[in-house]
């Protein structure tokens, strides 16, 4: 039930004094309540959405930093990835 999905904020408005907005979940759009993140977000930002409420702004800096650590641990780099794609294309 505590499911939260990251979505991109498309637009922000107020409905009878309540901060609301439209978010995009990879193509599916929905109106959600932005009251709990209103002072931190702007259109284009990502927020975690739970039962129609944005509960946090996704911290892009932190996300990028941890992903770098994980990528290094798994020794993945772009060249390696390109080679994999090429190999697959050749049916290796």
């Amino acid at each position: 039930m505590c499911l939260g999905i990251p979505a991109r904020i498309v637009e922000m408005h107020e409905t009878q004094g309540l901060p609301m907005g439209v978010v995009d979940f990879g193509g599916v759009r929905r109106e959600v309540c932005l009251a709990y993140v209103a002072d931190q977000v702007k259109p284009g930002d990502y927020a975690v959405i739970h039962v129609g409420f944005a509960i946090s702004k996704v911290d892009e800096e932190e996300a990028r930093r941890t992903y770098e650590v994980l990528r290094e641990m798994s020794q993945l780099d772009e060249l390696e990835w390109l080679k994999e794609v090429a190999d697959r294309a050749e049916g290796v």
Binding site: M1, C2, L3, F25, G26, H50, G52, E62, M73
Partner: protein
Amino acid sequence: MKYLTEYRDGRVARALIEEIRGTATRPWVLMEVCGGQTHTIVKQGLDELIGGAVEMIHGPGCPVCVTPLEQIDKALALAARPDVIFTSFGDMLRVPGSECDLFQIRARGGAVRVVYSPLDALDLARKHPDKQVVFFAVGFETTAPANAMAVWRAQQLGVTNFTVLVSHVTVPPAMTAILDSPDNRVQGFLAAGHVCTIMGWTEYEPISAKYRVPIVVTGFEPIDILEGMLMTVRQLEEGRHDVENQYVRSVKRDGNQPAQELVSRVFHLVDRKWRGIGEIPGSGLALREEFAEFDAERRFAVEGIHTEESPACHAGEVLRGLLKPFECPAFGKECTPEHPLGAPMVSSEGACAAYYNYGRFRATAPSDV
């Protein structure tokens, strides 16, 4: 999707699994608190992949599973009233009450509607002024701000035909209850990332210090969970017991302050019964006196509830991590997701349903570290 698919990369997962297996010098017993994490772990078979290094015990963090039977029975009684439109999150509809479930009430003509957001329930009340709209306000700290907002808005907008049937629970007292139990085996926790998105993690610091258990705030994707496991195992191997944060892209130490403020304005802490577990002191939220007019239990007399659990159901032992779902004699026989005897077989986040849906009918032999 951004911030989702990259946390499902198989190559990163494999590297993390190797790292966990290389770090653990003995098997460690960890508990993931949240049912959403249980779902990911069982679906992806993460517990099998790290078998031998880490044993995962599935925690009680599934609101559908722990909502007490009395509250389910009250929901059924309210939903059966001709003047009521009963609204709920979808996963509560098949939770068995003493006699039936909300789906059956709907089949008998009760107005039961699934809503995505509690604000949708409030909108429904405004559109149907001739009806009483009741919303089943269940959930953990993650959901409490949404439910608090619906009540707050109802008061602000003067909506008089909207009430909530509250059955809110909070995580830290349940973790303490697990650690206090004489048969506890948990050595480290993956704390629930979205609960901590709201609450932050300061409440967990006294728990980790008192019980000397590492607690790592963890997200929900496979990579998040594996990284949370690795961070916990590292602490255990180093003899540390700190609160750490894996889910840095969403969780800050102090959580979401505006959300906490509205929750404490609308709700206050009470003792709450957990289905299958029993009463846990200070583990629930109830409406404050200023919002009593929005309390469905006060507006409608819901009395004369006599609860009756299925005697064949071992949900309590599963929820406390004492039994694996397949060790219950009813699992997959009398009890299936189509005909659940207990709540953990209903919700996709319940351990029993996760084991059933992903074909876990027996233990898998742990592989060597």
